[in-house]
């Protein structure tokens, strides 16, 4: 890709422009501001170990937020994504006992993609509102997960299933393969959204579905593919979750839906569809992670942390709005 980039100097500048054209200035400013403040308050904050921690803590919600971004770009919303990932962890752990790690991975991807297909089918074929569809499947999947798991949690063995929790070092910076996986998911989806026809169609479908249809875009198919992709992403998140905690718990990640939506919206993607992108979501995810970590390092108790987080989320978006209005 790098030789291509040299040959196509004009287009790679185009890519950078493309990145910068997303309304990222605000979230970025908020993130930088938070980092500066916390590094003044606590010496440990900027330690490589601590920065790596923040990344690791962001992995699962960060990956889910990529799927959420896709759905929100199509003017939808996915309330079930966290529940799908949790079911994924249970399936993975149970299948690992029965058939070994590869079977377990395959089963997880299969189940998550199938559930993506159910959501996508209801949204595209029956044309039901995504909010209701995913609220319904969320409720049903969560209950099904608990039934499947009984009242138990399941340990997974060290090995391929916990691979994404394995850590490695680059210089002084120690991190896990889960972080790498997250960044790869972001890179991949960023490329698909901004550099392929499929991605342009996602924006068109989210921005004006009638126009998209009249332009000959297979809007149903495009929408459906987005839900399938989100299923795949949920499976990756499930895998990463077992890397973080090698123990599948039917009660885990109950707030993952809201947290992933928060990351998307802080990142500047419009809930009305058609505007935004994953780079903003990554920044949004990091803002949330930095806040939690930084406030703890500053010695703030969690109730006060919640008050502070609530206010800071609003401030982050206010900074964004302000920056955008200035730049107009």
């Amino acid at each position: 890709m790098s030789s291509e980039a040299v040959l196509q100097g004009r287009s790679s500048r185009g890519i950078i422009r493309q990145i910068l054209r997303e309304p990222l200035l605000g979230p970025l400013l908020a993130l930088v501001l938070a980092v500066i403040i916390f590094s003044l308050v606590s010496e440990t904050f900027l330690a490589p170990y601590n920065l790596s921690l923040i990344l690791q803590q962001s992995v699962v919600v960060g990956i889910l937020a990529v799927g959420q971004t896709l759905i929100i770009l199509t003017a939808g919303i996915d309330l079930s994504i966290g529940a799908v990932a949790v079911l994924g962890t249970i399936v993975m752990a149970q299948a690992a006992g029965a058939g070994g790690p590869l079977v377990a991975l395959a089963a997880t991807f299969l189940v998550c993609v199938a559930l993506g297909a159910v959501n996508g089918g209801l949204v595209t074929v029956l044309r039901l509102p995504p909010f209701i569809v995913t609220l319904g499947t969320f409720t049903a999947i969560q209950a099904a997960t608990r039934l499947l798991a009984g009242s138990q949690t399941y340990q997974v063995p060290q090995g391929p299933l916990t691979f994404l929790g394995t850590s490695f070092s680059i210089g002084r910076f120690n991190t896990t393969y889960g972080v790498v996986a997250m960044l790869l998911v972001y890179l991949f989806v960023w490329y698909a959204l901004s550099q392929t026809a499929w991605g342009r169609h996602v924006y068109a479908v989210g921005g004006n579905i009638n126009a998209a249809r009249m332009s000959g875009i297979k809007s149903g198919r495009n929408l459906f593919s987005v839900y399938l992709a989100t299923g795949v992403i949920a499976a990756i998140a499930a895998w990463a979750a077992l890397g973080r905690i090698p123990n599948a718990d039917p009660n885990a990640y109950q707030n993952a839906n809201l947290e992933s939506i928060t990351a998307v919206v802080i990142g500047g993607t419009s809930l009305f569809g058609g505007r935004g992108g994953v780079v903003g979501t990554l920044i949004g995810t990091l803002i949330v992670g930095v806040l939690r970590n930084g406030l703890t390092l500053a010695g703030v108790d969690s109730l006060y942390q919640n008050i502070a987080t609530g206010i800071l989320v609003i401030v982050a978006v206010a900074v964004d709005q302000f920056a955008r209005r200035r730049s107009l």
């Binding site: 026809a197 342009r200 004006n208 126009a211 998209a212 000959g216 875009i217 297979k218």
Partner: protein, 265 residues
Amino acid sequence: MTRAEEVPPVLQARGLVKKYGNVTAINSADFDLRAGEVLAVVGDNGAGKSSLIKALAGALVPDAGEILMGGTKVHFRNTRDARAMGIETVYQDLAVVPALDIATNVFLGREVRRRGLMGTLFRRLDMPRMRTESSGHLSDLKIGIKSVSQSVETLSGGQRQGVAVVRAGAFGKGVIIMDEPTAALGVRESGQVIDLIHSIRERGIPVVLISHDIPHVFEVSDRIHVHRLGMRAAVVSPKIRSMSEVVALMTGAEQPTDGERAGGG
């Protein structure tokens, strides 16, 4: 009328019906477009012109009636089916995606990928090429736009219309339908669209032009389809009828001849 009998019409409709609740938008309408001609469709507001051409473009599935191309029955479930048969349309409500840039809008649904592995394997779009081509097409129409990377929502009403016209004009191979393409355009830009229509006809591609601008209609069309109360009232020739007669036909103040009523034009 002899010529019409020899070659089957390129695009034809018989007895199309479309109802919205208790509003009948298309009321058993007929339609004939001959090879290489510019057919104007005129009629009052709400006569059902847009509904008719939406049915012909696959944007609307009629409740009854049939559509034929070159004499064979076709069935359009969506605009893609119609496009596959070479029908390109400029819709009255433009059908652009405001948040996307101009080049992307022009190539929407027919994006160009890079050459080589980058395009086939990585499916990467050739944005530079799409930008260059769209800006070429736009300047052909003399629509002055600074940058095709600008989003469509920042354009003036006329500039938007220009984008929609460019899109259809550049890609139509079989039939090009334009629903009031000059409504928001300035004098100069309108003139360019008329020129574009002439040049399309010279390429041998037939054009359907819906317009309220009767002088334009007379300047460019070979035949005029007069639409009234959801159906074809007459097809007349601009060489035989005057502008005021056509207007009278539209409002029902004047009655068409039997031949005109039958669509003979």
